[in-house]
């Protein structure tokens, strides 16, 4: 255990130093461009996001309940929020190397300003066969929607069920190698593989809380609440009431491998297999190591008339604890899929997404109720003006059935609705 602790401590310190080094390279604000013609060249990007929320959804998972959305209502059904402020400093170090650090403030975040990503990117000149990579802290390449500033989505405010989870629990602390072959016609085939640490608790939220629909991305020093009153503490008294998404518990690195197929102006198909190789018997500071693995497929397809289709699917499972007779204390299978259709009308955009998801459990503790099924609709209208300003009106409706709600004296099946009006400023 002591050995594990040393690795964990070192790993975190290492990434914090890396993050700090990146921040130190940033120029004093607001100098977005250096004047000299040489490197490094800095670019500062970011967003400010203001919201009006109208939930009719009971208590949120942030209240340690089993609600699906992100808000802390304190009984109020009309809420004004500075939802998020994020800043990305990109520095081009030379023709092949660049660095990017994203720090954000978000409503509810435990550390007022903290880091979501911080990495070095190696991307040499385009050639038919190109090798590249990333090193540091970054999102694994699963989402096909969150491709805007600071991992925001241009289409919706709430992320899909899959991408919400990616934002909450998955981050690479390590390296990713990329190889891509570009055919004469412009088509591209890419292969990638990564090794990483600090992702041992990934999966705990899907098991004990279930899928969710929001836009909170966890930060480096985050602690996310686990549901209370559903028996977790009784069965697992060593478990902390919060999960720390980016800790190393077992000293075993995880990996993912994947492939991308891309045709310019038509679309992109990407498949990823992820395995954090968690040693399920490890626990440290109230954080268990979960063995989580999944396969994910995403498709982004440009359609005529300025429309775009994005589909994602994910199937996997997570386990925790020492097995007895081959059965684990927690063993949950999960799956989710979503289909988004979006169409731009000049500066206006209308997007509709359908999500479906589910978890099933087959483990030692039938009283630990981790089964759930659900589906959701999200409809968003947004209007962009002057390239930087975006107004949004969005409604999300989620219908979910989770047996554990009965333990809270609630109806297991609930319809929850969240209306949001947002003004987002991108710079």
């Amino acid at each position: 255990m002591a050995r594990t602790f040393t690795i964990s401590g070192r790993a975190r310190t290492c990434f914090k130093l890396l993050a700090a080094a990146h921040l130190a390279m940033a120029p004093p604000l607001p100098a977005a461009e250096a004047d000299a013609g040489e490197f490094p060249e800095f670019e500062v990007r970011g967003l400010a996001d203001f919201r009006f929320l109208h939930p009719s959804a009971g208590l949120s998972w942030l209240d340690r309940n089993l609600g699906k959305f992100r808000f802390l209502g304190e009984g109020d059904s009309n809420l004004f929020r500075v939802n998020e402020g994020a800043i990305t400093v990109k520095s081009r170090l030379n023709w092949d190397w660049s660095a990017a650090v994203t720090a954000k403030y978000a409503a509810w975040q435990k550390v007022a300003v903290d880091i979501t990503e911080s990495f070095l990117l190696f991307r040499p000149a385009e050639s038919p066969l190109r090798f590249g990579g990333r090193l540091g802290m970054f999102f694994p390449p699963v989402s096909m929607e969150n491709e805007g500033t600071a991992w925001s989505s241009p289409y919706t405010l709430n992320s899909s069920a899959i991408n919400t989870w990616i934002g909450e629990e998955l981050r690479v602390f390590g390296g990713e190698a990329q190889a891509s072959y570009r055919f004469d016609g412009g088509d591209r085939l890419g292969l990638f593989a990564a090794g990483y640490g600090n992702n041992d608790t990934a999966g705990v939220l899907l098991a004990w809380r279930g899928f969710s629909l929001h836009d909170y991305e966890a930060v480096l020093n985050d602690r996310l609440p686990l549901p209370a009153g559903v028996g977790i503490q009784k069965i697992f008294p060593l478990q902390s009431p919060n999960t720390e998404p980016f800790v190393e518990v077992d000293g075993t690195p995880g990996f993912y491998v994947g492939a991308t197929l891309e045709r310019p102006a038509l679309g992109k198909l990407r498949a990823v297999y992820y395995d954090n190789r968690g040693r399920t018997t490890a626990i440290e500071n109230g954080q268990y190591a979960w063995h989580t693995r999944f396969g994910s497929v995403g498709l982004r397809l440009e359609l005529p008339w300025d429309s775009l289709l994005i589909g994602q699917g994910l199937v996997g499972g997570t386990r925790m604890g020492a097995p007895t007779g081959g059965v684990f204390p927690v063993d949950v299978d999960f799956w989710a899929c979503s289909l988004l259709l979006t169409k731009a009308f000049d500066a206006h955009r209308l997007s509709v997404r359908h999500d479906r998801f589910g978890t099933s459990d087959d483990d030692l503790f039938p009283e630990d109720l981790n089964r759930e099924t659900g589906h959701a609709w999200t409809v968003n209208y947004n209007y962009v003006f002057e390239r930087s300003h975006q107004l949004n009106l969005e409604v999300s409706v989620i219908d979910s059935d989770r047996a554990a709600r009965a333990l809270l004296g609630e109806d297991p099946r609930q319809d929850q609705t969240l209306w949001q009006v947002a003004y987002r400023f991108f710079f």
């Binding site: 461009e33 660049s98 590249g132």
Partner: protein
Amino acid sequence: MASGLPILFLRVLGLPVALAASIDARAAVVQGEAREADGTPVAGTVITLTPRSARPPAGSIGQKTAVVDQKGREFLPHVLAVGVGTDVKFPNSDRIHHHVYSFSPAKRFEIKLYKGTPAEPVRFDRTGVVVLGCNIHDWMVGYVFVTAAPYFATTDDAGVWSLDLPAGDYTLDLWHPDLERIQEPFARSAVLSEGRPLNLHHTLVLKRLRRSGKPPASRQEEDYLGEP
């Protein structure tokens, strides 16, 4: 005045001025426009005219330099037509770096463009379509159309083009990066006679999915960095 106008036209079209100098008393004028079926003008259409006789054209084919600027994080012009052997300069009018490349079979090259520092011109010595990209700004795309035809023009934003050239029989071709087909009737042969300008109207059917080469309409969508 009469002789000044064609030269002005050629200058507007970015064509070699020396070509205009070769116009003699037997000069003919051909002009036209390219539109989609709904009437939308098609900019960046390249029109080439090759004499049907084996006789080489009189005089020089023209000045052998051209420019593709990097401005506002796009290639300007989006489509450039040049004769074989032309040197193309790639200045950088932006206050950021650009990293221009092509690996089209007609010309493979890579140039690193610092802010305000001119780079050596690139000679396009084989015919074909050269697709330009920028390694830093993935949305940037531009085209250099390298032709052996002695006479060529590119449509402007109004879809209009014009050429002055010796009277005679020519083979006419059209090219556009997003061209799916040219709507019939389309005559490849053109007979140009002195003193009677020939007006040509072409209706192009373009591909539904196109790359504009311009930065995204919203700042939010400017490249999320590094995903495979």
